[in-house]
């Protein structure tokens, strides 16, 4: 019980900190591709914008740590896992993990006022948990063509206007921001498996298996990024921040912008 209370207090503290940072570190909402990408007028383009990374030296340290861990542990584990478990199974496990997490998506859709999204994710959860045999299959997509609408708590906070705060490279967890770390904690606390009586160790095991499985489905991503960049730390930071900003603004669905025009 006291453990739970500590986690909750930590969560609150992070939340408060994030709101404070939000005021100090405003995200430009107007990051539309065309406006943002200065183009012909050179002076307009050459305005330098500092990335919000006041903790760069600490982040770089943990980036190095994670990089070592990747090559020493994650990659060999992943290679073994990929050899032992066939692709079909790994895809099924991927579906399973997604399905268990999808009640969180429903909640976050609701919190963002996206009722259609919530309905979609809820019906996906119901279909896949039953017809899809505990979520191992994805008949919702394959037979009914219902695409998932994942939303996490970091996105919810972003939608509510909470700024992203400083960029963080967390040990083991990788790239994040203060806001997304709070989001991660929130999602972890509201994750369905948190309501089953399990130990912290079980939770970590669950998380790790999920990540290893995910990596096995997208091999070579990290190494490619490293191979083609001159400064992998900055490259990863940029990819993360841009990806998350697009998610918060719902730019991932390109069709949305096109329909707005």
């Amino acid at each position: 019980m006291s453990k739970k209370r500590t986690t909750f207090l930590l969560f609150l503290a992070l939340m408060a900190g994030s709101v404070w940072v939000a005021q100090a570190n405003e995200l430009s909402p107007d990051a539309s591709l065309l406006i943002d990408e200065g183009g012909g007028n050179l002076d307009e383009f050459f305005v330098e914008e500092e990335a919000g990374d006041p903790l760069e030296s600490m982040n770089r340290f943990f980036f190095e740590v994670n990089d070592r861990l990747y090559f020493w542990i994650l990659k060999p584990v992943n290679t073994a896992y990929t050899t032992v478990v066939p692709l079909d199974f790994r895809q099924c496990f991927g579906n399973f993990f997604d399905n268990i997490a999808s009640p969180i998506w429903v909640v976050n859709n609701l919190l963002q006022g996206k009722f259609a999204g919530a309905g979609i994710d809820l019906s996906r959860f119901l279909i896949n948990s039953t017809v899809g045999v505990l979520g191992l299959g994805d008949p919702a997509l394959q037979s009914f063509g219902i695409k998932p609408k994942p939303e996490d708590f970091g996105q919810t906070l972003g939608t509510w206007g909470v700024g992203e705060g400083p960029y963080l490279c967390l040990p083991l967890l990788g790239p994040s921001t203060l806001r997304d770390s709070v989001g991660f904690a929130g999602d972890a606390l509201s994750h369905p498996i948190a309501y089953i009586d399990i130990t912290y160790l079980d939770a970590v095991a669950y998380y790790t298996t999920n990540k290893v499985n995910l990596l096995s489905l997208h091999p070579g991503l990290y190494e490619d990024m490293k191979r083609y960049s001159l400064d992998p730390y900055i490259s990863m930071r940029q990819v993360y921040l841009e990806y998350r900003r697009n998610k918060v603004l719902d730019r991932d669905g390109r069709k949305n912008i096109l329909n707005e025009l």
């Binding site: 591709l33 990408e37 997208h218 083609y228 001159l230 900055i234 841009e242 390109r254 096109l258």
Partner: protein
């Protein structure tokens, strides 16, 4: 003036008016014709999507060409691809963007050298992604236009998932040229720009060139 006379004057003036109107109509017709001629020649300069399509088509054709497949033909294949890609991709503009404000002050030969190095890096990073392409259809999902800039959205299947790839283009002398590629909402040129920013601050332009040369040699 007799009534007859009055009538004939009226008739003449009415005829004159008619002739005037006819003249107006005629001028208008000529103008309209001119407009259509001009407009159709403007239509001949096609939109960004139409100009991007042949570039990507030739890229795809070369990647699927069985006589160019495999590691043995990599150099030849890449050379052919780049021959087509450089017609539709503006590597000058990209180089200028990633270097930033210092670009203007660089002598021509330094600019050219940098452009060659950066083009090589992008060739590896971008075309490398398509290297194991096996004939998936490129879907053109939309086009946004604003003045002389445009975004052409495409989708391509990758590992069973649809990967959105957007081409950011600018119009240069009636030709639409790609100056950035956005994969899953993440900009390729922007990413390098951010990396180069801190390198330029620390090692200056010559340091960046050296790093690029080293990087390219590891990618050979």
């Amino acid at each position: 003036m007799s009534y007859d006379e009055e009538l004939s004057v009226k008739m003449v003036s009415r005829n004159l008016k008619k002739i005037k109107i006819m003249k107006y109509m005629y001028t208008l017709l000529v103008l309209v014709c001119c407009f259509f001629v001009v407009n159709s020649s403007a239509l001949a300069v096609s939109g960004p999507t139409e100009q991007l399509k042949p570039t990507l088509k030739s890229l795809v054709d070369i990647l699927l060409d069985p006589s160019l497949k495999g590691e043995a033909h990599k150099v030849e294949r890449r050379a052919k691809i780049m021959g087509h890609v450089t017609k539709g991709f503006d590597f000058r503009e990209m180089s200028q963007r990633v270097v930033g404000k210092e670009w203007k002050d660089l002598p021509q030969e330094k600019q050219d050298h940098f452009q060659a190095l950066f083009t090589k890096l992008l060739e590896n990073a971008y075309i490398g992604k398509f290297e194991n392409y096996s004939g998936q259809e490129i879907q053109y999902t939309g086009e946004r236009l604003k003045d002389d800039r445009a975004i052409v959205s495409t989708q391509i299947e990758n590992n069973g998932q649809l990967m959105p790839v957007d081409y950011i283009m600018t119009k240069k002398e009636d030709r639409w040229m790609v100056y950035d590629i956005n994969i899953e909402g993440v900009s390729l040129v922007r990413n390098y720009m951010e990396q180069f920013k801190s390198i330029l601050r620390r090692d200056k332009f010559d340091g960046l060139v050296k790093l690029l040369e080293e990087k390219n040699s590891t990618l050979e």
